[in-house]
């Protein structure tokens, strides 16, 4: 294993100064073609590659062409699509992407953010976990741009790209009510996640608007995995006065519910998922567009990096209620109007 050659090595080999090598490597004008050719030959001979660590240090105030993305879990399909879109935009912009998973752990989130900023990232796409993000103020103050995706951060004013969770939940409940349901269960992930809280709030207000009293017996929070959700819905159905319809707060919960739900019970789930259309009955979902979210967030980020200093913006992306069947199963109050 040889040591990595430096510009000095190339310079010696080509019989020029390191500065000239630098100029050639960076395609700066004002180098004689012959000189450049000698340098290129030396570069090939030695297998030289510019050291961007040194470069970034020297070019202070310049960009490192590195952005970070910090999300719950790369393995989550929603997050993965989002990350993929971010990476695409970053590449177009000539930047590389540092990725990290917070796994819903604020401590881990801080650690990863710190590891990122100590490497001088130009910007960060953040899917914040619950809790305050005031600790990011320092980073923001010293030039790290931050754009939140999916949820916004508390204690920090940043750009954000989100969907109207409350309105979407509202629409889902209205949809179920219109199909004759009045006993509608809610099964959800942890309530301290901002988006989940908003969805639950939408559930409650929609019930109220429909004149249906909320019943804690058919509400469950804190479901992290599909099996948990399956067990929860099974318990509910076994209880007295079971629900005739279910709203699932996100895709994981929706999957779990689906597996345990008898055919006659209606289901609307947040988040589209692969094969949702091929199940029987096909699952009605509130679909988000993670790629649009990722690329929007990334474009916002790079606009900031390139100097956009306008006040922080929140972009609200639309959701689609995709009626596939499971959400249109008629309930006991169905009036045949649909």
């Amino acid at each position: 294993m040889t040591v990595r050659p430096t510009m000095k090595d190339v310079a010696r080999q080509a019989g020029v100064s390191p500065m000239t090598v630098s100029r050639v490597v960076n395609r700066e004008p004002g180098v004689l073609p012959g000189t450049a050719a000698r340098v290129h030959r030396a570069i090939r001979t030695l297998g030289y590659q510019r050291d961007d660590v040194a470069r970034q240090l020297r070019r202070k105030g310049q960009l490192t062409q590195t952005v970070g993305i910090l999300l719950d879990n790369v393995a989550d399909p929603f997050m993965a699509s989002l990350a993929s879109a971010v990476e695409d935009v970053a590449r177009q912009q000539g930047s590389v992407v540092l990725i990290g998973s917070s796994r819903d752990d604020p401590v881990r989130e801080r650690e990863v953010v710190s590891a990122f900023t100590s490497r001088r990232i130009d910007g960060l796409i953040l899917i914040p976990v619950a809790g305050s993000h005031r600790f990011l103020r320092n980073a923001v103050a010293t030039g790290t741009r931050v754009v939140c995706a999916d949820r916004s951060a508390s204690g920090l004013k940043t750009d954000a790209v989100v969907v109207d969770n409350r309105g979407s939940a509202n629409r889902a409940i209205a949809h179920l009510v219109a199909h004759g349901h009045r006993r509608i269960a809610y099964l959800g992930d942890r309530l301290d996640i901002r988006t989940i809280e908003e969805r639950y709030a939408g559930y409650l207000t929609a019930l109220e608007a429909a004149g249906i009293p909320a019943d804690p017996a058919i509400v469950r929070h804190g479901l992290r995995q599909a099996p948990d959700a399956a067990a929860a819905v099974a318990a509910m159905l076994a209880g007295p006065d079971p629900p005739t319809a279910v709203l699932a707060s996100n895709g994981i919960v929706g999957l779990g519910v689906r597996a345990a739900l008898p055919g006659g019970t209606a289901l609307v789930s947040f988040d589209d998922f692969l094969l949702a259309a091929q199940l029987d009955p096909p699952v009605t979902v509130i679909a988000q567009d993670p790629e649009a979210m990722g690329s929007t967030a990334a474009h916002l980020l790079f606009a900031r990096i390139h100097g956009d200093a306008s006040p922080p913006r929140t972009v609200v992306l639309p959701t689609r209620l995709v009626a596939r069947g499971s959400g249109e199963i008629p309930g006991p109050y169905w009036d045949g109007a649909h």
Copy 2:
């Protein structure tokens, strides 16, 4: 937006030398508690954070605590799980992860590798695209460790973590034959992808072993998207002498085939996918374990980074044939033995 404070700033604030600040920041012994306290106070006051770019430059030959992972596409669930496992291991090792998608494009692959190595990554987890990877020799020679996952790289000897694709395809075909099929179609992704080629080879040898002649009319390559696969299988079924069973080379193709396949035709697909068990009929798959693959590759990589200089190893992970129903649909030659 303030400028980022440096050790010099902290030193001035605390009335010590930068060297002492360095010692405090890096928790080196030999600093009086009182002095350390003053430094800590100054750090908090100024919001100082160590600049790892400068640190990495100075500590030449030391690690940058950064590894790269380069895969086809982050949005692919298989790759996403793999990446997630890699990130977990990296975090345990105190490293951050640079991620990049090659999108099956050798040019893009080279560009991303170059962007990574110019940042002095300690190591790279690579899911190689088709074509030669001799261009990595330079990087390997100057200290970047490379571990391939899912497929091995040609023109370069590295550690690799793979599955026995040929044997697995063999087993799948034997399974179908045992259930009375002799007219078995193959639908596959691009043949120049190493794993796909191996699976196809396994298909052919298994047919031969069973004394079944291969028929190009029921073989299709180059299917990139689910709809392509659906169209291909539909065309096959509409032709003369349609297949009674299908082998799909990977999850994407399997999904497409499933959507277009009538109930009576058997299907075995490579790659497990979410909900495969909840379809009707449930899909029989050859399941791999992407997390095991990712974490094995990552552990290999860090062993190399920490000095393991033994000859390159190839780890072959097992696959599981998960019989769920679609692969056990009896064919015309079924003898009732199963």
